[in-house]
Point group: C2
Chain length 399, copies 2
């Protein structure tokens, strides 16, 4: 479709998610197109953090592990994520980081399917490749690099992103699962760039194992704890190797032998970072009652609007043509400096080497009008060539 | 020594740490003898958490990874811990949980010393045993259970707590290191019940590898991230298996192959929980300029006072006679209920099955007078038998 200015106004007026914006504590004068990298805080998350620190920790002290429900938080928080990804309430756990969870899950599945080969696409999210290689080095197993979209013959443990971190391209979950079902093995879905922006439906699509992150579209805060999903009927035989006390069936009995808890709860390891986890828990309430189909549809429309309004700039699109996650990419040889110039104007996206400007479209807090503003700003930055100013090319670490 | 009431008053008046109490945000009417389980917040930690959430996250958004130094926090925060344990500033890293770090370190050392046998005492902290067993199951190696204080013949990777979690008994670090040096292998020290309350001096005592927790005597907050220590001259050959992007030499270049960062920094894995880590970072400032010898001496004196004033109760002591960490234990068949009754009076300690009441002595915020009050309260609880009230025996999860 083509979006006129009146279309933009109408889409905002009719947006079924428009009331959600008020839940967020966004700074003035910013169009935030980086919710795919670090979601902004909700007002509830900030309030919850104060409560947890200044009442539960300060006044409750050690008693808050029971009285404030800290001990249950990895599970109670995960029930909210379970709904968002289409799992049953007790099939997810919030714990550790994506890297740690991927390691635990891949190790557990390799133990269960010793004949299966660890496999990952050569262009996957780099940290997933690193983690798989690290596990393989430890246990003396190879990791097969597969061509994008391909699956090796024979039993396979395939690690795969549902949404590509560069283009947003969404894999066909049911088809990949069917392919692995024929070969034997399992798929571990990386939902980092999918959870909170796509209508994932893990159960409906036959997915049994997934990991994902809390700080992108779920808005859980910087480095928010990650999650693991395991279908209940697949958990019994899974033994994850980092068997810390929090995954024990009776952690407070201090018995000498490890007995895994039931279900996905056995994927807990050490004591969880409660302050960070509480912020995530509160942030997830922004998804209360939200139909993920509507979220995905709006994300798509926001990205389409942005791409349409920047199509005349002659930049190479790094955006999937079909079903797409909540981001779009544009390539520019000086993409780093262009993005810095945009940030100077209050339009915040991010950059991935060598030349990719990424724009994220979080449907819960973005309006169509903001996206139109961002597209216009990109026009200006390129037309004025202000990105050539030296201050915009000084490279720093970027997340 | 015996402590008269005037001794107690004099010790408080002359306490070189007495000004530290004002740094803490402790609730009124509480004597907190559980800093060995969850340290209380400092005022600076609460303020920092507000700053990080309500300014850095809310206003800085993704930019705060650079502008607010989040990306450096695992290392900058660790320099403070390094001083406390007697390491060089760049020899520690704050990351993940104790369980995860123990797994990474044991796996890396086993890879470096394939002929060495993993070993742990049968009465060690249970979660350390669980983690070692989990690693062993994954890599197909045995774990040797050794008698307390014993070391197996031949090359050994020994996991050992510096301070016993029940009695506070402190191992002779230099002697254990010397024993392992003769056999080959390495010692991984668990400093959970030692960091922040003992004058540890890892370098001086020849210790090369350690893990420890941030939420006990370091007061970092519930589930605060943990730390790893690796002597610089031992890090080069160490490859830890959970090779997530944060431990990469160039995490933001998104190259396809993993290259470990220099030194202990390679023990990072996924994205760290910044909210929790920032609270720890601020909490550690309470140790600024503090001589750990004075901390250890006061902890010992507080525990001695408590034990002396409860000696006539006929309870079995579970406290080391020699050098001792910051806790003391008393056994009582109904210890759970007795501890609940004490908590009802505002004297907070904790309980470990089957019969151990633990009392922690954090020198930075406790006074001698408070400890005398706690001892008097235990007398009262036992004399009145108020612990027999049904409400005190209703068992819940306890940390």
């Amino acid at each position: 479709m083509t979006f006129s200015d009146s279309d933009v106004a109408r889409l905002d007026a009719e947006d079924p998610l428009k009331d959600k914006r008020a839940l967020f504590a966004l700074p003035e004068g910013i169009v935030y197109l980086d919710g795919n990298s670090l979601g902004p805080p909700t007002k509830a998350a900030l309030a919850r953090l104060r409560l947890v620190a200044e009442t539960e920790w300060r006044d409750g002290l050690i008693r808050s592990w029971n009285d404030a429900g800290w001990i249950d938080l990895p599970r109670t928080c995960a029930t909210k994520i379970a709904r968002i990804i289409g799992a049953r309430p007790d099939e997810a756990l919030v714990t550790d980081s994506v890297s740690i969870n991927l390691f635990k899950l891949a190790a557990a599945l390799k133990r269960l399917h010793p004949a299966a080969v660890l496999a990952i696409a050569a262009d996957e999210f780099p940290t997933d490749i690193y983690v798989l290689d690290g596990l393989a080095d430890l246990i003396g197993a190879p990791v097969r690099r597969v061509a994008p979209g391909d699956t090796p013959d024979g039993p396979t443990i395939l690690v795969k992103s549902l949404a590509d971190f560069r283009t947003g391209a969404v894999a066909d979950m049911a088809a990949v699962e069917a392919g692995i079902a024929r070969r034997g093995g399992a798929v571990i879905w990386d939902l980092c760039h999918a959870a909170g922006v796509l209508d994932i439906r893990v159960k409906e699509n036959g997915a049994n194992y997934a990991v994902g992150c809390g700080y992108k579209f779920l808005n859980g805060g910087p480095g928010a704890p990650a999650f693991v999903y395991i279908a209940n009927d697949r958990s019994a035989g899974l033994r994850q190797p980092i068997s810390g006390w929090m995954g024990h069936r009776r952690p407070f009995d201090f018995v000498a032998g490890y007995e895994p808890a039931d279900g996905v709860a056995r994927f807990a390891a050490g004591t969880p970072p409660i302050l960070s986890m509480a912020a995530l828990d509160a942030a997830l309430d922004a998804f209360d009652g939200v139909d993920l189909r509507i979220v995905e549809t709006k994300a798509r429309a926001l990205a389409d609007l942005f791409l349409e309004r920047t199509a005349d700039l002659g930049l190479v699109k790094a955006s999937a043509a079909g079903r797409r996650g909540g981001q779009a990419g544009l390539r520019h040889q000086n993409g780093y400096a262009v993005m810095q110039a945009l940030i100077g104007r209050g339009i915040i996206g991010d950059f991935r080497p060598p030349d990719l400007m990424r724009f994220g479209f979080s449907p819960l807090f973005l309006s169509y009008a903001e996206v139109a503003t961002a597209a216009a700003a990109l026009h200006d930055v390129l037309a004025t060539e202000e990105w050539r100013e030296p201050r915009f090319s000084q490279r720093r670490a970027v997340l």
